[in-house]
Assembly symmetry: C2
Homo-oligomer: 212 residues x 2
């Protein structure tokens, strides 16, 4: 039977070196990898672990992502692009600076909780600080998001809604509150990330000192 190629003899079983048919393969692999990287770290997860979680061969994963780092890279770019769209839309819809800041924090928290595993991977997937694992594209997307917040705060300062000495420091403070959540927030807990964000918003707008 010369016309039947060896790698298609066993229909329904994935031949070595060829990807099996699966719906939305890239998204499926990214989703499984996010959970594994989030739980055990980038270094603590192998491409084989990812393949097993998806239920395909390692070769099938290789077909879509030649290296583990390619999975990380696509996950982060996808996350940052969707975050910018979601949070950007929310602040555009809010009428004035304080409402925009509230929308920024609230929407970011909802987005964070909805995409919890990928966030943990992005912000806490690697141990150590000196490994240069962010690409220029990712750094540019991250900076674009930070600029969205700085611009919102600067507008609020110009309008007299906010009294801010240093917009960059204020933006960093807001992002610190949000980002540190990857270290203590538990999706299975009783309080939603959005509720913590609203409490933080109140706190940072009012300050600890009583208003006279």
């Amino acid at each position: 039977m010369p016309r039947q190629r060896p790698d298609t003899v066993h229909a329904g079983k994935a031949p070595v070196g060829r990807p099996p048919t699966m719906p939305a393969p890239r998204a499926t692999i990214l989703g499984a990898a996010a959970k594994l990287f989030a739980a055990n770290g980038f270094d603590g997860t192998s491409l084989n672990d990812v393949a097993q979680a998806v239920g395909v061969t390692k070769a099938a994963v290789y077909h879509y992502f030649p290296t583990k780092k390619d999975i990380f890279d696509e996950m982060v770019v996808d996350l940052l692009e969707r975050q910018y769209l979601a949070v950007g839309a929310a602040i555009t819809a809010a009428p004035e600076p304080d409402e925009k800041l509230k929308a920024f924090m609230q929407t970011q928290a909802i987005f964070f909780e909805t995409n919890y595993a990928a966030f943990v991977v992005m912000l806490h997937g690697f141990g150590g600080v000196e490994r240069n694992h962010w690409t220029d594209e990712q750094l540019a997307l991250r900076d674009r998001f930070e600029k969205l917040l700085r611009s919102l705060l600067a507008d609020g300062k110009a309008a007299g809604t906010f009294a801010i000495d240093d917009v960059a420091i204020a933006a960093r403070a807001v992002l610190s509150l949000m980002n540190w959540m990857v270290r203590w927030f538990r999706p299975e807990g009783e309080v939603r990330a959005e509720d913590f964000a609203l409490q933080y918003h109140s706190l940072i707008v009012s300050g600890l000192q009583p208003r006279k």
Copy 2:
């Protein structure tokens, strides 16, 4: 020469399996390991890397720390104990709640910068969130430090110095500002951690909303 034991024949040269003479061996190993773990993560560092950095054999490191995790554990306990003493002394010396909060943030930042590598290891040495790498002793020390801050804020609330809805949330906000520094602060930069902490203190005490 039956009275001379084989492992002491070569005086001045470290025999395999026996530690060489070095001053303050535990502190020396912890210091070298802190830098390596901070740069490359816990998983990205081997006991052999640590031995090479100290300039001894792997067996010499084993003599003091049977596993890599033992190094991490002693590093974190030591750090948390010294942090509690340093920050505790500073807030005891400060006269009233707002000065105490300022002392807490300022002293913690100085302590963080002085012990930068060990802090990075403690807060960002491992990738992923589900690895249960903190011992009960470490968790108790961490909680003791957080209680120090909560108690300070609660005293300030009772005295009318602070208007705080939820002391736990306010404490978490302060710690988020401080802890996220492990991800962006660069010791080689121009601004000291202490100066960032003082700006954060001002920001969180006054709030973004202008004071009438």
